[in-house]
């Protein structure tokens, strides 16, 4: 029987490293992720590269729950990964996040 894959929690950074309403980049195992701190003090994680032309989203602009890509201003809801219109058409992959002892872990399973 195969259920949901077992979680693979990976320590990304300290919670303090991500300012509120901001984003940081996290590289792991040859891949790039983006970790967000929302205005209501929650943390989220997505793939780090834009689905349009692979710009680093951590260099972009966080406004509320939207991450705007630094290259062509494409926007995603970083909580759901939803692409919010041209030039981004493909949703962003999101990852579960947990905080333990002041550190952010993301589930890369």
């Amino acid at each position: 029987m195969s259920g949901a894959p077992a979680a693979i929690w990976v320590a990304a950074c300290a919670a303090d490293d991500v300012e509120r309403e901001d984003v940081v980049r996290f590289d792991h195992d040859g891949r790039t992720y983006a970790i967000y701190h929302s205005p209501d003090d929650a943390y989220y994680a997505t793939d780090g590269l834009c689905t349009h032309e692979e710009a680093h989203l951590a260099e972009g602009f966080v406004s509320g729950t939207i991450i705007e890509c630094p290259k062509h201003n494409g926007r995603f809801d970083y909580r759901t990964g939803e692409a919010k219109g041209a030039p981004v058409c493909v949703n962003l992959k999101i990852y579960p996040v947990k905080i333990e002892a002041g550190r952010i872990f993301i589930d890369l399973a």
């Binding site: 032309e53 602009f61 630094p70 290259k71 062509h72 201003n73 041209a86 058409c89």
Partner: protein
């Protein structure tokens, strides 16, 4: 050393695009002046205030000059009124579609989208086509065979630039493309940068544009006067000259095929009136380096990065004092380009 005088192929479907890809120039990483994240975040902050104020002034000035022109129709006094109306309609729309296309002018998304649609119509740039064309321009700025928005290819065709002062070349092309799109087709070059999912939207908007122009033509016939067209449609042509004067300064005569906006773009200092008409697009190096910074923050961004950039041109005159000789020289030697940063490698081939 022999001068290579052969013109390059600027088409997006010619051999240069593949060559750019082979050389790693397509979709590449670009130089950015270092800015601490905190400072950049502050510069990227959005606000509705400046664009609401500027848009209210713009619309009011359009309404006032347009009403005056219509009121004075039939007298010579209508000429200055149409002059003002035409510049506001045919030239200021250039920076409005541009900033709202980036969705940075206003904080509120729908406001960007409304002004984008209006300004696109005024300058006769189909909104879906130009959204995608401009994305490519930012990905591959002045990369030959990749950038659809190279305004002045080498060698420069000076009569073409002069014709465009009244949108005679660009406008004719735009009208031809409107008919192609309305017929449910794209030009082959456009297929290289507009995703298939967006094609339908292009066709619908082209039909709407043509319907509006048909309605204006019908209004002209009904009142037996070209006044309706002087207010809607023709200002794109008779009022577009300032957009060309501004637009040519952005990249003309500078390096091609180089991944550094300091070497292929110009920042020109302008007075507040010109900066209002141009919505600070004169800070063009800064805009290309950091397109997420809204137009109203570009003067502040300029102050932050200026020590890492070539000195700005102090005026439009100063920019043209460089551009005109450069274009004339390129007509004999297309490999020539202006190099402004000593030590930087601005090889363009």
């Amino acid at each position: 050393m022999a001068v290579e005088s052969r013109a390059r192929d600027y088409s997006l479907i010619g051999p240069e695009g593949a060559k750019a890809q082979e050389k790693g120039l397509a979709g590449a990483a670009w130089y950015q002046s270092p800015i601490p994240r905190k400072q950049l975040k502050d510069l990227m902050q959005r606000s509705d205030g400046p664009a609401l104020r500027d848009t209210a002034i713009w619309i009011a000035a359009l309404a006032l000059s347009g009403s005056a022109a219509a009121w004075l129709w039939g007298t010579w006094w209508c000429v200055p009124a149409f002059f003002v109306y035409g510049v506001l309609y045919g030239s200021s729309s250039d920076s409005r579609w541009h900033e709202c296309g980036h969705r940075t002018a206003f904080k509120t998304r729908w406001m960007n989208d409304v002004v984008y649609q209006l300004a696109c119509f005024m300058i006769l740039r189909e909104p879906t086509v130009w959204r995608w064309s401009h994305a490519r321009h930012h990905t591959d700025t002045i990369i030959v065979g990749r950038d659809p928005e190279i305004a002045v290819p080498r060698p420069a065709y000076i009569p073409g630039i002069l014709l465009n002062l009244f949108a005679l070349k660009s406008g004719a092309k735009a009208v031809r493309l409107l008919f192609i799109h309305a017929a449910g087709r794209l030009a082959p070059e456009e297929e290289t940068f507009i995703p298939e999912a967006e094609h339908g939207r292009v066709y619908v908007v082209a039909r709407i544009y043509l319907a509006i122009f048909a309605a204006v033509a019908a209004a002209c016939a009904a009142v037996a006067s070209i006044l309706p067209a002087m207010l809607i449609g023709l200002p794109t042509f008779y009022g577009g000259w300032l957009a060309v004067v501004f637009g040519v300064t952005q990249h003309a005569g500078l390096a091609e095929d180089i991944l550094d906006h300091r070497l292929n773009s110009r920042t020109v200092t302008m007075n507040p009136l010109l900066r209002f008409l141009y919505w600070n697009m004169n800070y063009h190096v800064e805009h290309h380096m950091f397109p997420a910074v809204p137009y109203h923050a570009l003067p502040r961004l300029h102050a932050v990065v200026k020590s890492d950039c070539p000195p700005p041109y102090p005026s439009l005159w100063a920019a043209y004092a460089e551009i005109v000789p450069a274009l004339l020289r390129q007509s004999k030697d297309p490999s020539y380009c202006v190099r402004r940063m000593p030590g930087a490698v601005a090889g363009s081939r």
